[in-house]
């Protein structure tokens, strides 16, 4: 464990070299979200609710989903792709350390600073829409909400590993991971609550793991589901963690066997 902590520390030091970049990305995010929310206000117009979501609920939902996306997302697939393409993976394989674990803990190392900046960004967005933002201070709800986000983070990381490991077979995955990212966004409720979509879409989203990364935590926060449904949802999250862990381990083992390290 100590070695992964040491790795994460070096990662923090290394990213701090480029700290100004963080702030520019933050500003970028702020403007993006602002525009996105204004569009939704126009869509609502005079309507009170769409598919059971009032305007304040949708605004809160989208701000929340934006923040969660940023908390759980990681540069893992791009990292893996680069490591495999450039042969950097070799550096890890010849050392007594686990590559996936190193990359996972490494991705956590950038989190504290990143999350802090995002919280400020989304708090500013919420401030702009303060008459529409729903603040929920129920302790039980908040604890369940946080637990579900932790599982989201793990599910998302495992999905990222599976996507990234495809590089073992295809050399470039940027097209694939771009498509995967968009599908992930749609099916996780990143653009709009899943109930806004047709029935077949909702059923598909229910079968896939994605909706458990963003949609589900926000349903808890907005009290859209009962306590029973919440517990059941957390159970399904745990199930997905197990399934995806086994899957990513399987893909990793097969992939590493194929790994050629670059240059004969």
């Amino acid at each position: 464990m100590r070695k992964y902590v040491a790795w994460a520390k070096a990662g923090i030091k290394s990213t701090l070299v480029y700290s100004s970049d963080f702030f520019l990305w933050g500003l970028n995010e702020f403007l993006d979200t602002l525009i996105f929310l204004f569009i939704w206000m126009i869509i609502y117009g005079e309507r009170n609710s769409i598919a059971g979501f009032s305007l304040p609920e949708t605004v809160t939902y989208l701000i929340g989903v934006g923040l969660i996306s940023n908390i759980i997302s990681s540069p893992i697939p791009e990292r893996i792709e680069k490591d495999i393409q450039e042969g950097k993976l070799s550096n890890f394989l010849v050392k007594p350390m686990s590559y996936p674990r190193t990359r996972f803990f490494g991705s956590l190392s950038g989190k504290p600073l990143n999350v802090l900046i995002r919280i400020i960004v989304y708090a500013l967005v919420a401030a702009v829409f303060r008459d529409k933002f729903i603040i929920n201070l129920d302790a039980t709800i908040l604890v369940l909400f946080l637990i579900s986000i932790i599982f989201s983070l793990i599910i998302n990381a495992l999905l990222d590993f599976c996507t990234g490991f495809i590089s073992f077979w295809t050399i470039t995955t940027s097209g694939f991971s771009g498509l995967a990212r968009t599908l992930k966004s749609i099916f996780s409720g990143g653009y709009a609550p899943i109930v806004f979509f047709p029935r077949w879409f909702q059923i598909t989203a229910g079968i896939l793991p994605f909706s458990y990364t963003r949609y589900f935590p926000m349903l808890i926060y907005l009290r859209k589901i009962s306590m029973m449904e919440t517990i059941r949802g957390l159970g399904i999250q745990i199930l997905w963690v197990a399934i995806l862990y086994l899957l990513s381990r399987f893909v990793w083992r097969r992939g590493v066997k194929r790994y050629e390290g670059v240059g004969i």
Binding site: R2, K3, A6, A10, K13, S14, S90, V94, M97, I264
Partner: protein, 327 residues
């Protein structure tokens, strides 16, 4: 008990072939033709503890592939590999803690951080005790004379300084087996010499087993007694460096300096004239005819200076690679 044992190792890569041009690209989308590239084709050798063995061969001969199989990076297509009694491919922590792989063209140092940070990180990764770490680091830093660059961002170091730091990072856990892949590539002659001296000294002090690949003959000539020559995935020679000369150089070289102008035509009666521009001449003579040739030269020509030399090892190896059969 050899430290490294390789039996009938094969590593083939599948490469897909594409005809040139747009049509070729489209064709390869629909039906890909694959072809096996035999990077390593049935090689066997053994290396004893403390040996410093040179692996030489032209680009693409299979040197790096062999090293990668030995360090557990590549899964062999066929054959048996055993290093320190481990199967490298299992990549057991106990195995990885005893080896190290340094590639001249790849770096493990963190680009944006001072080298010292990577050293500390490696200390954790290899679980090196604090006192041993301090001691080893001190020794290596002194040997390589890098005291003043440890705290500078790696990206700002020169190639030579970086290579020295790479070596330190790779040796902090005192590996028993060390794989060096082109450690002097791109370095100037002074730095090459320093790295060579270091490797020699390190091997002497620590008795670690070292395999070194290089296409600089200088590296191999200075460091290794035993060389393995590999070409097109096959071993063409395995033995003492001096044996290559005895076995395969059937000629010696006479280099002569004349006192007065001579008739170059007459010179060709002595042996094959490789070079002549007054006052110097280089003549190649069959090994057994050397003394006769030398005597004749001294008798019939105004010789100011005469030297009998072995054919340079570079030339012999070049001949080997250009297809002259050694067996």
């Amino acid at each position: 008990m050899p430290v490294i044992e390789v039996k009938s190792l094969k590593k083939f890569y599948q490469v897909h072939k594409k005809e040139p041009g747009l049509i070729g690209s489209l064709k390869s989308l629909v039906a890909r033709k694959y072809e096996d590239v035999k990077a390593v084709d049935n090689i066997s050798f053994e290396i004893e503890e403390g040996e410093l063995v040179g692996f030489i061969g032209p680009n693409g001969a299979g040197k790096t592939t062999t090293l990668k199989c030995l360090s557990g990076l590549l899964y062999p297509t066929a054959g048996v590999v055993s290093v320190l009694d481990f199967n490298p491919w299992d990549r057991k922590a106990a195995f990885l803690k005893q080896i190290s792989l340094v590639m001249g063209q790849k770096n493990q140092l963190w680009w944006d951080l001072p080298a010292m940070e990577t050293f500390i990180l490696n200390k954790e990764i290899y679980e090196v005790p604090e006192t041993q770490f301090e001691e080893t680091l001190g020794e290596l830093v002194k040997l390589l004379e890098v005291e003043d660059v440890l705290k500078i961002q790696v990206r700002k170091l020169s190639l030579g300084q970086r290579m020295k730091c790479e070596l330190i990072a790779a040796l902090l856990h005192s590996p028993k087996v060390l794989f060096l892949d082109e450690p002097t590539i791109g370095l100037d002659v002074v730095m090459q010499k320093k790295i060579r001296d270091f490797i020699k000294e390190y091997n002497r002090r620590k008795k670690s087993t070292i395999i070194l690949t290089s296409h600089y003959m200088g590296d191999v000539k200075e460091l290794c007694q035993r060389v393995i020559i590999i070409d097109k995935g096959k071993i063409v020679f395995d033995g003492q460096l001096s044996e290559i000369v005895e076995k395969y150089a059937d000629h010696k070289v006479l280099s002569v300096v004349f006192g007065k102008e001579i008739d170059p035509k007459k010179l060709s009666e002595i042996g094959e004239v490789k070079e002549y521009s007054f006052p110097k001449a280089v003549i190649s003579v069959r090994r057994e005819a050397v003394s006769v040739a030398a005597a004749e030269l001294l008798q019939h020509f105004p010789v100011a200076d005469l030297n009998v030399e072995e054919v340079p090892i570079e030339d012999i190896i070049r001949e080997v690679f250009s297809g002259k059969d050694l067996a």
